[in-house]
Symmetry: C2
Subunit: 109 residues, 2 copies
């Protein structure tokens, strides 16, 4: 029941972290989502989502190193756990099972 499901934003955040591999931090995740899904997201909403996903065991995190760019303070880097990856994949597999039995041609009326 409650706790293992992903919210819509949470799933996008998790997918972004997976796609960004070892350079996933809040700002990059936000850019990733705004680029792929056509949607504005508040940076604090991203942070809140990242922390929640970590609490749930879908993500791990560690502090990265500071860069020599102005304002380049160190970032918190997130990575997808095995459990997170499994959850993501299962959600997608279930949906694909449904799509497999939807008569798409007649549906696109």
């Amino acid at each position: 029941m409650r706790g293992t499901y992903l919210g819509e934003l949470e799933e996008l955040v998790l997918l972004s972290v997976a796609a960004l591999v070892d350079s996933a931090y809040a700002v990059a995740v936000r850019a990733e989502i705004e680029g792929r899904a056509n949607r504005k997201v508040n940076i604090s909403a991203i942070h809140a989502s990242l922390y929640r996903l970590e609490d749930k065991g879908f993500l791990d995190s560690h502090m990265g190193e500071a860069t020599n760019k102005r304002g380049g303070k160190s970032k918190r880097i997130f990575t997808v756990t095995t459990y997170g990856y499994k959850t993501l994949k299962e959600a997608q597999t279930v949906r694909q099972s449904f799509w497999g039995s939807i008569p798409q041609l007649s549906a696109q009326k």
Copy 2:
């Protein structure tokens, strides 16, 4: 923003209605979900979800005919609207875009 997103259950309900074509009513939808996603759902939760999806414009409904089976009172039949189908498809397209850039082999550690 708020209003156009699908909850996790809502998406499964919408996909079920699509897959069931012209025989989608609450009980059948529930069976469909319990069969494909490995998950128990309260029948009233299905009803609530169906009504909400209709309010949002993702579903249409009409009363079907009674059958000559014991307890076979007429069912409310739901169908996916063009808008609902479009929403469903877009959500899936966005996710597939992410999956396309996830290095899956190294991720399945």
